[in-house]
């Protein structure tokens, strides 16, 4: 008897919990209908995945009939796709080249700021961009060469294919040349590892860095939202939405584009770990 009772109780509780889920989903979906419908195809930079994911989620919540697709192919393929008309909005994590600017328009929606981090015990406060590149290329191997203690440097990085790694390596000009001592699969792992190892240097998105590690200044500039927005801090790159110059976007794509560039998107972009543009 007791068993049956507890079973019934458990079932009842599960149902109540499920019912709670259901009503919550309905209210948020049914709250606002803008009447927009259609598909918005985006294509391009893999580094922009998190930002686009946050924007897409918030946008489809307001416009439930619009479907936003995202095809992670890389910046150059995204630019090519939009100029060939294979997608509505191209995504690039670099600025457009001059010849691309002839037919395409780039709009910066966010800035990717990459913090250079070392262990809290490390005495080094500043490195130049060139020194950082030399450290990762294995040309500087001891902290004493850059004003620190006499200890070998351990270079911590991300796995091949990661957007942060791609960003860091393209900014420092160390593509395919880095001699890592660890390749980790998440920003959190990198920060944790640097926090545990006094010899380590690593890189991570600015937003995820807390005081467990020390952010160093690059060419004397501290990494924060202001220096990134003004462009003083060097280890940064733009997240760009690319559209065809002169061509008109579909109604849904236009709405998504405006949403992504509006002030409403700022907090989402921050949540996604990037820095919003200055308005």
């Amino acid at each position: 008897m007791k068993k049956i009772l507890s079973l019934v109780l458990a079932l009842g509780m599960t149902l109540t919990a499920l019912a709670g889920c259901g009503s919550e989903g309905e209210s948020s979906a049914g709250g606002s209908g803008t009447g927009l419908s259609g598909t918005v195809a985006t294509d391009g930079s893999t580094s922009m995945e998190t930002v686009i994911e946050f924007l897409r989620e918030a946008f489809t919540e307001e416009n439930p009939d619009v479907e936003v697709t995202y095809n992670p192919t890389g910046s150059s393929s995204g630019i090519e796709a939009v100029s060939a008309g294979r997608c509505d909005i191209g995504l690039a994590s670099r600025d457009l080249k001059d010849e691309e600017k002839e037919t395409l328009t780039g709009t910066v929606i966010a800035i990717d700021g990459i913090a250079i981090i070392v262990n809290n015990e490390n005495a080094v406060e500043n490195l130049t961009l060139d020194q950082i590149a030399q450290i990762y290329k294995g040309e500087i191997t001891n902290w004493s060469e850059v004003g620190g203690a006499d200890a070998e440097i351990a270079c911590i990085g991300r796995e091949a294919g990661s957007g942060t790694r791609d960003g860091f390596e393209s900014i420092t000009g160390t593509e395919d040349l880095c001699k890592y001592s660890q390749e980790l699969t998440s920003t959190g792992d990198v920060i944790q590892t640097v926090a545990n190892n006094p010899n380590a240097i690593g890189y991570a998105s600015l937003a995820s860095v807390k005081d467990t590690v020390k952010m160093i200044t690059v060419d004397g500039v501290e990494a924060n939202v202001d220096t990134i927005q003004s462009g003083e801090y060097k280890v940064q790159r733009n997240f760009v939405m690319v559209t065809k110059t002169g061509a008109e976007l579909s109604e849904a794509a236009q709405a998504f584009f405006e949403f992504a560039t509006s002030a409403d998107a700022d907090s989402l972009i921050e949540q996604a770990g990037a820095v919003p543009v200055k308005r």
Binding site: I156, E159, G161, S162, D176, Y180, T185, N196, N197
Partner: protein, 291 residues
């Protein structure tokens, strides 16, 4: 009465069909996975070339001029597993002998659940403890820039394979007929002599099965190894950051595309072949034992 009989017959029939379906389902999953791995793993090998793929020493999957050589991963997996076995088997075997022959009953009753618990700890926990405690320890002890290397991975793997080695070889040791031991004692042999010259040789195929099982576990482990080995595609060295076959697949899968993704499936295929070989050896040992 007739009705009841009929119902029972129909019910039996239904259950029989259900059992059969479930049986086929399990086999179907194995065949499905095997088929899928072969179909998705072969194209990249064909494109890269079998020799370049298996014997190439450079893995640079996202470079402008990509190279897909997995020899570093194969060597690392083989070295890591062998070293873990070399460390883990003696400890595991002696522990099994202790549990089966030496330990007082009460102590054994406490030890056995503890060993079982070791087997039940999720591998991510091994990895986490390894990352927080072992890696800094290795770094400081050997005065290295970074403690995440093959050595740390070997230690973690050696601990992880202990429970399977202990429980399988303990069962094998216990299965040795008591008369063998008694005969040995009657001839004036000491306990140690009896254990090493009579019991262990008599249980050798069971112990071999334990070792093979340990190899299987070590070569297939991904999570714990990923957290302590550093994951750089170097040719293996004891204090170098290395990448295993398993971690090569796991670490790059999330952002991979095109040939890189296909090559990851090919690595999984190679790993699958390794595991198949190990299982074949295990089956061979067990069959020979039955004879």
């Amino acid at each position: 009465m007739d009705k009841v009989k009929k119902f029972v017959l129909v019910f039996e029939k239904i259950m029989q069909i259900l059992f059969t379906i479930c049986g086929f389902l399990a086999v179907a999953f194995v065949l499905l996975i095997t088929g899928y791995l072969i179909v998705s793993g072969l194209p990249a090998i064909r494109e890269i070339g079998l020799k370049e793929f298996l014997l190439g020493k450079v893995w640079a999957s996202t470079a402008k001029d990509p190279r897909y050589g997995i020899l570093p991963f194969i060597c690392t997996s083989v070295y890591g597993t062998l070293a873990a076995i070399i460390i883990g088997v003696p400890i595991g075997l002696l522990c099994a002998i202790f549990l089966a022959k030496m330990a007082p009953k009460r102590l054994a009753a406490f030890f056995r659940p503890a060993v079982d618990l070791l087997a039940g700890i999720p591998s991510v926990v091994y990895g986490l403890v390894g990352m927080i405690i072992l890696v800094p320890f290795v770094r400081e002890t050997f005065d290295l820039a970074d403690g995440a290397n093959l050595f740390s991975a070997i230690i973690v793997l050696a601990i992880m394979i202990l429970p399977s080695i202990i429980s399988v070889s303990e069962t094998a040791i216990k299965a040795v007929p008591k008369e063998y031991e008694e005969a040995s004692y009657a001839l004036g042999a000491t306990k140690t002599e009896t254990v090493f010259k009579v019991v262990v040789p008599a249980a050798k195929s069971g112990i071999a099965a334990a070792v093979v099982l340990g190899i299987g576990r070590a070569i297939g482990e991904a999570m714990a190894v990923m957290m302590v080995a550093g994951n750089v595609a170097n040719m293996p060295g004891l204090f170098k950051s290395v990448r295993f076959l398993t971690t090569a697949v796991a670490s790059e899968m999330s952002y991979s595309s095109g040939l890189q993704r296909q090559a990851l499936f090919s690595i999984a295929l190679v790993l699958f072949v390794f595991i198949m070989l190990i299982n074949l050896i295990l089956n061979f040992i067990i069959k020979r034992e039955k004879k």
